[in-house]
Symmetry: C2
DNA sequence: TTGTAGGCGTTATCAC
DNA sequence: GTGATAACGCCTACAA
């Protein structure tokens, strides 16, 4: 291109970047030819030179879960607006895959990472390494127990209290809770909120009404059966997640059909789909995944722009609202 | 790193790449230090040098649609296994956004692109330019009318015939069809299949039983009302997509509740969710999005490895199976 | 077996 | 206003 115009590469480069000391005439000639040749600058070279890729990574369990899809959208929208790319990786609940993704992303030189760790992830040394390499990491939705990390989550503690209070206001006395894996802090918070909600309202906490699943349909069905075989079965069930609640609904409908109508359910996530189906659950806690993504993007860009040593740990939790379907 | 070991960079490079002519002892020393320093090669530099990024792009309307999520998974799994990255872009049905994504991806030097064009995309010159720049493009799910392009789609023509035949076998005589935008070839194929299905079974095609929507809930409801106000309303409706079918179900249930039980519906997509809800539709045509993604990845890698001039247009359509829920 | 030199595309810097 | 040159990190002939 430089040759064709009999100009030096540096002049061409300056012309394309609207450098002030380049004549308008020259700029025009260069830009015209660039368009004609369908010239596109090689970002790989630019990134290489700038030691920065303007790329952020996001790692999440699965795109089939709309919570994460929405978080991606918030993250992507904010990041795009600021000129950053986003690359997505799914860990599919495998720690091994997660590690692969992290090192893949590190080698493609992402400037920052947003991650919701896999089911299996308890040790986060692979992520600590990233941070040591100067790449900021923000955990979202699921955060490790490790206290000293950036995170942004939903305030599921308050949400659980709200859910329990709502069920009590509808006259329920025996409210069960099916939780997710207990080593997630998000499960723990739900649980404590559930318990505190009962206690605040003057009820006793009954541990036999609480069970835990690994989120698989089978283990959820097992938990439901256990609860339903209780001498005094629950009249309402709080579920860790909407996807779990669907399994709970199905199990009750098929195996305990006589009680199906009287048992009320609340989940987390407020799947849009519930607006469309015939017998939706009673309610669901609406989280703000899009906003989580957006704020995470905003925060991570701030961290990137700060010299590494001045970075302050960023921790946020966003409120949920109870969405009633019936 | 080279300095620490008092070796030259090339020795270090060779050691890391298991070059045969490097002594085992040296290799060990180098690798050990690399691990210790948490050294990760800079892909940006490698890509820059190799004039290849080992990155594929995939552009689709929305990740909220599980069809596309599954296609991404197929694409990503195959590509990862072959050492390629995948970057995802959502056009959100906007041509403008799509063009942005294409040029973004071009400048980040993707080696190939898989795309399902936006609602608004009729002119594909932005994609032709990519191909002219030597980057292969495969269209999936939605392909432009343009005949001379690589594509991989579901065989919705056969699928529609199957669906109609199934409804006829259940005794329906008046089968309506609510289609998607008529300028998509995928809509056209569904339509022709619907019509041919009727004719092959000895029924007359009645154009008053066919309507078209832009996929929004509102326009779908409008189409349903029109059909239901028909002097002889349909007893079964074939719907362009499961998401549309949900809107159809809801509209019939709320506005024509007396007929809700007698009208049978078939959609396309076979959303996994239908397994879990209380009153699922009669059936849905199960496409193979994961396989579409996989095959697309396979095909695009083949195209990438072939010299540009020898590339042959690749066109595939995969069969669908009818999945019955009731 | 190891070292040296050159080049990939772009831009910042400095000289003209 | 324009041109030459170095530098970014890595790889690979080729030289030693």
């Amino acid at each position: 291109m430089a040759k064709q115009l009999r100009l030096s590469v540096s002049t061409v480069s300056k012309a394309l970047n609207d450098h002030p000391r380049i004549g308008e005439v020259t700029k025009d000639r260069v830009k015209k030819l660039a368009k004609q040749l369908n010239y596109v600058p090689n970002q790989a070279a630019i990134h290489f030179k700038q030691r920065k890729t303007f790329t952020l990574g996001i790692i999440l369990p699965s795109l089939m879960d709309h919570f994460y899809t929405l978080a991606v959208n918030g993250f992507d929208d904010y990041a795009s607006a600021k000129g950053y790319h986003v690359i997505i990786g799914q860990n599919h609940e495998s720690l091994q895959r997660e590690k692969q993704l992290v090192s893949l992303m590190q080698s493609s030189r992402i400037d920052g990472l947003l991650i919701s760790v896999s089911k299996e992830t308890q040790d986060i040394s692979h992520l600590r390494k990233l941070e040591q390499a100067g790449i900021p990491v923000i955990y979202f939705a699921r955060k490790p127990i490790d206290i000293n990390c950036n995170y942004i989550v939903s305030n599921v503690y308050d949400a659980s209290i709200k859910a329990v209070s709502f069920l009590l206001s509808r006259g329920h006395k025996r409210i069960a809770f099916i939780n997710g894996p207990s080593y997630w802090s998000t499960s723990k918070q739900r649980f404590v909120g559930y318990r505190d909600g009962l206690i605040q309202n003057g009820l006793k906490f009954d541990p036999t009404l609480v069970d835990e699943t690994n989120l698989s349909t089978e283990s959820t069905h097992k938990a439901v059966r256990k609860l339903m075989q209780h001498p005094a079965p629950p009249t309402a069930i709080l579920c860790f997640k909407d996807y779990m609640m669907l399994d709970v609904m199905k199990c009750i409908r098929t195996e305990y059909s006589s009680m199906a109508k009287s048992i009320e359910l609340i989940g987390y996530g407020a799947l849009p789909l519930f607006e469309k189906i015939e017998n939706p659950p009673l309610a669901s806690m609406q989280e703000q995944p899009y906003k989580i993504g957006q704020q995470a993007a905003e925060t991570i860009l701030k961290l990137i722009d700060h010299p590494e040593k001045e970075r302050i740990v960023q921790q946020t939790s966003l409120p949920c609202t109870l969405k009633i379907f019936q």
